[in-house]
Symmetry: C2
Subunit: 390 residues, 2 copies
């Protein structure tokens, strides 16, 4: 097969707020080849990501992503890897390119799986799709009371694990944060798993993050996620050396090397990878193997749709030791509209679907209200216009 | 002052080829505040970088760069640093943002310097603008003969130092590369400085790069630049441990942490920073101090205009030990048209200008033939249209 068409669809809620809710918009990618279609999702700013696909070439190492994809051969996983190598080389100086490629690469896997009638995880070499324990991924409330209520609600929905993130953490005193952590523990109950996501709020300030460790330990938190800026490996390592709570990080990794580094230099114990950012399912799979080899735990990063959720499960589907799964528990109406049906949770566990490709059907008919009509023109030439979604 | 307006101008040659010549297009930024104007240049794909300035917000940590800049206070270097902190936080998930910010941040320094009647390097705390030895930055020829001729031409123009990059290096045999290195040495003469830029061609293949070391040593190369992908610090360190030739790298750094890491993890001896990519002059200045503290040599990265060249000189203007300067020796007609006058080379040396701001006047009248007319619309709303250039 040859890749015949690549279409990007920018979807957004009618109102987008400054909350840390990444499900307020979405960038879907549809790929067509040999009579088959595959879908993927970029976890990325839609407009710059579309621009990175269609922009004019600046020079040989700053070409649009399209130049390395359209017309390329697609018969095997090796062909997908070859496309990724070409994008890395030809779009070396185009910073946004990995985010654009991520959803596209995922769509290539989906298409290839559908063509061969195999789930993506099997194409990756996994022999089974192991059960993962889904944790409800939530934002902290503005107050401990709100946080407690959100955790109770998640528990009532059947979740035995909860992660709280962002909100006021790190913006006030360590005491105020301790009240939040304690409220979260109360809400989820003594036997639930509790994780905390600081959303990079401490920058590179190790002392400020360390001041939160006693309360995290008292609340029995499994991990402290992203205390620092994504590249601040020195700070991660310095905190890891003194923390009784494991550190988690890696969601910002936009290539495999960054995933390695947050483990090897940053000493995180939980490596969180977003297939919608790292370049897709191929590099995420390599990151999972790296985490496994290093004794770290691989965890998917996902806060958007069940299309992205399935993609995020594929890389570590068969790695039984890595048994935790981020589950977007309060996604936007747009995110809920994307799949025809959500991935089921059965007996408290979720699995990568045993169905061709990603095993998720995109509900194109439901997406019309969210579709953004975009047009990009240079010198009278139309580089991009939102394609029909049907 | 408050930042009143930020205008991006996308310039391109009539024909852009796949050569590794980064001067075939340019993205200039003009900032207005308090009756003053400053200019900067992004070393970046223009269309995605413009999109990163104007795109709709995706969520609180994925806001357009404009949200952190327009209307912001600009009275001191600390205000510029505060803007950079806000962009890093508010545009955390917008991968292209650092490239967009780089030219913009440079323009803020230019504006501030003009307002205070001071060169940027003085605002940075440098007490003088030390002479640097310019090296002609060239691409390898397709054959050793072409390479030799280019080096001879540079020598005839007065350059006593030459860097050759890209071209066929690494794509054929080590023997073929050795012939290129020897030809370059012949062309520049026995007493000239010779540097080699591999343009990331070896990916992460340490053995392939190591196979070129004997010939580099025989040719008396001062450094081997970017043998590997930008993030492949493990490969850099492995090669550095066995190389008689110093390694150089860092041009792809799009934040200060990456600059630190290529020195601290990658063990490069020459840290090359592009102010048009790392986020501007502020982080480049911090990178220069880091290199100095670590005993490495800081070198500017510049392959485009003299506006970018002046910006690239400011961060290390007063650091006398760091006395080499990349000088674009065969820039495109577009790149030559940008400044009213180029930075002079006097007595074989170049210096950051002793003039307000960057000390470079932009020749707007000469740029009309290169100006690209861009329009970006979403849902009937125009997010960007090329502004008048006058």
């Amino acid at each position: 097969m040859r890749i015949e068409a690549v279409d990007f669809f920018y979807l957004a809620m009618p109102e987008v707020t400054a909350a840390a809710d990444g499900s307020q918009d979405a960038l879907l990618v549809r790929v067509a080849a040999g009579g088959h279609v595959g879908w993927g999702e970029c976890e990325a700013a839609p407009l710059p990501s579309i621009a990175a696909f269609v922009c004019p070439m600046s020079h040989g190492a700053c070409q649009p992503v399209a130049a390395s994809v359209l017309g390329a051969r697609l018969d095997s996983p090796a062909d997908i890897a070859a496309i990724a190598v070409r994008v890395a080389r030809n779009s070396m100086d185009l910073l946004q390119a990995p985010h654009t490629l991520s959803g596209l690469e995922t769509a290539l896997w989906d298409l290839l799986g559908r063509r061969h009638g195999e789930p993506v995880w099997r194409l990756l070499g996994h022999r089974h799709s192991a059960p993962k324990r889904p944790y409800a991924s939530l934002l902290f409330g503005d107050t401990p009371e709100e946080t407690r209520a959100r955790c109770r609600e998640a528990r009532a929905q059947g979740f035995t694990a909860v992660k709280l993130g962002w909100g006021p953490i790190g913006t006030g005193s360590a005491r105020a944060d301790a009240d939040q952590f304690a409220a979260a523990r109360e809400g989820i109950g003594g036997d639930g798993l509790l994780m905390v996501d600081a959303g990079q709020v401490f920058g590179e300030d190790v002392a400020a993050a360390a001041a939160r460790l006693p309360a995290l330990r008292a609340a029995g938190a499994l991990w402290l996620e992203e205390p620092f800026a994504a590249h601040a490996y020195e700070a991660y390592a310095a905190l890891a050396a003194q923390s009784p709570v494991g550190l988690a990080g890696g969601e910002a990794a936009h290539n495999l090397a960054m995933a390695r580094h947050v483990v090897d230099y940053g000493r995180v114990r939980f490596l969180q990878i977003d297939t919608g950012r790292i370049g897709g399912i191929g590099p995420a799979h390599a990151a999972a193997r790296h985490a496994d080899a290093r004794g770290a735990v691989y965890v998917n990063h996902c806060f958007t749709t069940h299309l992205a959720l399935s993609a995020s499960l594929q890389p570590y589907a068969g790695l039984s030791r890595h048994d935790i799964c981020e589950y977007p528990a309060r996604p936007s109406a747009l995110a809920r509209a994307v799949p025809v049906a959500p991935l089921p949770i059965a007996d408290g566990a979720i699995r990568a679907p045993d169905a061709p490709g990603l095993g998720v059907e995109v509900n194109t008919a439901a997406l019309a209200p969210y579709l953004q009509q975009v047009e990009i023109r240079i010198g009278g030439r139309t580089l991009y216009r939102t394609p029909p979604l049907d």
